[in-house]
């Protein structure tokens, strides 16, 4: 398995669980929002600290600009125009590209499909599910109050769509952004994992160069 797999998902669809199980099954690293955010924060701090040392910038505003500049690795771009959100996006995208260069892995969320659009060994997956299923999952697994579950689901999905549509060129949830889109509740989590594995294996076999064939 040589592929990097990105997973986008509706809230409560089991996309993160599918991603984790997929990574376990394939024996590759797993990354999600939390891991990527943490890594971006750490690398951002490290880079900003380095830049501060070089430039003796000490105010938090300059620090913020410096962080942006270092993330790009280019001091000539007008980073003062970048919002904090944009700076975070850039830092997270750098983390995503870095882990993707290290080898096969599963990355959940963070527009990873768009961030890695120049990579030729990426398979993008979208997971969605029926609202009843997502509501149950939200209540039972994420402990949302039953009377607020629908609002929360809606809010999360809107946030994900906005995040994607702001940063990427395509639209979140459009089939043509993803090699494979699945309704997970219809076949269950484990079958969804198997379906993705089969798609990737078929794809790698189909796209293998003649000199790679054994």
């Amino acid at each position: 398995m040589k592929s990097i797999i990105t997973i986008s998902r509706q809230y409560g669809s089991g996309g993160r669980e599918i991603g984790k199980k997929l990574a376990e099954k394939l024996g590759v690293p797993y990354y999600d929002n939390k891991i990527i955010s943490l890594a971006a924060k750490e690398s951002g701090f490290a880079e900003a600290a380095f830049y501060n040392a070089e430039n003796k910038a000490t105010s938090s505003f300059l620090y913020s600009i410096a962080m942006g500049m270092n993330v790009y690795g280019n001091q000539d771009i007008g980073f003062a125009h970048l919002s904090l959100d944009d700076q975070i996006y850039i830092a997270q995208s750098n983390v995503i590209r870095k882990v993707a260069k290290e080898g096969p892995c599963v990355i959940v969320g963070r527009c990873a499909d768009y961030v890695l659009k120049e990579f030729d060994n990426v398979v993008n997956v979208f997971i969605w599910a029926d609202l009843d299923y997502r509501r149950n999952r939200a209540i039972n697994m994420y402990n949302l109050p039953a009377d607020k579950a629908d609002d929360e689901i809606n809010k999360y999905d809107k946030r994900r769509a906005n995040y994607y549509n702001y940063h990427a060129t395509g639209k979140w949830g459009r089939a043509e952004n993803y090699h494979l889109s699945l309704r997970s509740d219809y076949i269950g989590i484990d079958n969804s994992v198997d379906c993705i594995v089969k798609y990737i294996e078929d794809g790698e076999r189909s796209n293998r160069q003649p000199d790679e064939l054994t």
Copy 2:
């Protein structure tokens, strides 16, 4: 296999070929635009002829209204307001519901996923593919001139999207309209067929009632 499978597809993605091979593999009837249009025309004429005989309507305008009325099976609705396109849509939808009631089958195009939204044994599939692949297919299989292929592909897809978005409540090509969406060129036609078969089998097994389990 108890499922009715609907296939929506981008032009040149191989969706129709996948549908045909899928029907062969499952041993169920196959229906596409041409077959449905023909059946709708035949049933429309037959019904209109019956209605004409009953009402002595002979002008083509009355004939057209009559056809619409019979399609609905209700003389009280103001069919004069229905465009010919809407009348054709209704007639075709009736054909789709009729064949779906007869048993498992594969239906390509004509918003069949939306028309059959009340049926509980339907699996909806969307097929898309990379533009290069679709261009090659359009030129080599549908004999489009190379310099016009992109325009034609674009025109066909716009027409399909407009047709869907006009009649259905969802948006054409959105992952959440379809149980399974596939990029066909990445794994090839035959693997796409197998992927759909596996999804359906997994789904039927997962959704089987306890008393159906052997």
